[in-house]
Symmetry: C2
Subunit: 331 residues, 2 copies
């Protein structure tokens, strides 16, 4: 098995030299399996366990230049991130991720180690969620394109949609908020530290286990934070026909994030409230529910009062106001 094609003169160094079937062999040789995988790559289709008799499925398509940059992120990190955002969508339905499928477009002149390291990253992120890569398709094209589909199992619980929040519910979050955005601010100003935030931008750590756990705790609505807390709570508010108020003092703004904010002239609350890509999980729960320690109550669900449907401390969050004189900071 080939682990470092670029370093070995006997191995081809570009996708074109290796060829389509060679690349597929190379990619599938890196995969592992789980008990959920009845049939992995290599046939017309894969077969994956769906013990619940329902399967949760979601897909995302990512382009170089638009969703990732090869000079900011390694192929491995792109793989981790691409897998993470799909696995987080599955978890945010209350499901346990089981499998990933990968559609990949690679330029002919791309060094082979780029797709193989991407595959390593996808495989390793799948492992974190106890899932496995079960199939895929590779073709040549000018722009690196990564299309991932994730599947999951609901384990006999109802799917938690965005539409079940009720006035009186509390809003709670688990995972990281604003870390990726703070890391992006650091990187976009040419810095490489503080490392924890740069790492958070390169490789999110969604709390996969928290999704199914929240379903078990009776979450009434749930989503992962991929567009930013206010935007994603907005999706819940619209789908549930409610208003949601976030209390800013209940949000966690780490001291080091405040320091970065000070250094670059951005209110760190802006990152926490509008930064996506950390894939925290936010959910609404009946008020009487005792939540585990890692959930933080950050607001409440109110009857609808027109727009805005999400407020911060009772007022609209004015993204353009105050600190944000660098303008939109997210891709």
């Amino acid at each position: 098995m080939l682990s470092s094609p670029g370093g070995n003169p006997h191995h081809p160094s570009t996708v074109a030299e290796l060829g389509e079937f060679g690349l597929i062999r190379e990619l599938t040789s890196r995969l592992d399996t789980t008990p959920s995988v009845h049939l992995g790559p290599g046939d017309d289709a894969a077969v994956v366990a769906a013990p619940d008799r329902r399967v949760v499925a979601t897909t995302d398509i990512l382009l170089e230049g638009r969703h990732f940059r090869r000079d900011w992120s390694t192929a491995y990190d792109v793989g981790r991130k691409a897998a993470a955002q799909n696995l987080a969508d599955v978890a945010a339905m209350g499901a346990v991720p089981t499998a990933l499928l990968l559609g990949l477009v690679v330029p002919a002149e791309l060094p082979v180690n780029w797709p193989t390291e991407l595959m390593d990253g996808i495989r390793d992120e799948a492992r974190v969620a106890a899932a496995a890569v079960v199939g895929g398709d590779v073709t040549r094209g000018d722009v690196i394109t990564v299309a991932i589909t994730a599947l999951g199992d609901l384990r006999d619980k109802a799917a938690v949609t965005r539409s079940g929040a009720r006035a009186g519910d509390v809003v709670a979050v688990t995972g990281w908020l604003g870390w990726s955005a703070a890391g992006h601010a650091v990187l976009s100003r040419g810095f490489r530290s503080p490392r924890a935030f740069v790492e958070a931008h390169r490789r999110p750590e969604p709390p996969y286990h928290a999704g199914p756990a929240a379903a078990g705790l009776g979450a009434t609505a749930m989503t992962d934070v991929s567009d930013g807390l206010i935007a994603d709570l907005g999706h819940i508010a619209v789908a549930s026909r409610v208003r949601i108020d976030v209390r800013s003092r209940q949000l966690d703004v780490p001291l080091q994030m405040s320091d970065i904010g000070q250094a670059v002239g951005v209110d760190p609350l802006q990152w926490v409230l509008t930064g996506g890509e950390d894939h925290a999980i936010v959910a609404t729960f009946p008020r009487d529910r005792k939540l585990p320690a890692r959930w933080r109550v950050i607001g409440e669900v109110l009857p609808p009062t027109g727009t805005p449907q999400v407020t911060v401390d009772g007022a609209p969050w004015d993204r353009a106001g105050g600190w944000d004189h660098f303008g939109p900071d997210q891709d």
Copy 2:
């Protein structure tokens, strides 16, 4: 609901004018549902019935210029074809297709009716197989890219892989062979008729029902013909460690296909043996099995004898020989 955006001055005419959310609304408004769809588009993920407790899953990624041409095929036909090739993969496992997911890259300046007509085509092909589109993702990029994932249900039967063929089995096929290749030959020479073959190239008609039916009839190995009969039988031969011999006189070469061959100087058997994209289904069965009328026995499974693993009338099929002086004819 918008049915013909280009013709209405009040509606935006390009993807950029409509915007991402507008396009997603436009695409999802065209979809329908089936009893298998517990939750369709609009949440973090879809939820699809998997009554068998296993789900069959496959994915393909198609690029403009490489897999389709806008001047040869309408958006609607590209959608039909992209859906068909994934649905056929599910059927070729012996499963009943249930759902499709779509990842779509569209250029900003693309007229909106291109992606909406693509969606219509995907939806209509899904309907033929009694499946539905349940989710997707849309992003902007320079090259139209269509990534489709298909799911299916095995209905309590074992999946039919490529690896179960045994010496003594018969090889049988159902669906169309060589029609798409003959249509491609017609189109590539600037003609638009005979229409039946041109249509077959633009819009394949895989026999979806035949896959699960073959599983019920005890098929030992199965695949859909997407790379050409010899190539796809080669996949079965390799996976099953057998040799497969095809008898050319048992293949159906329609008179009109012979006429086209005559006109363009190609042995029509070449299309039947090496043309992909019709997505016929080919399977191996125990010799004593009575097959329904639409299955045609075309060869037999023999003990392995080294390469070639697939022969025609006992001899290697020499693709370059005889009639094929136009060289490789397929994309």
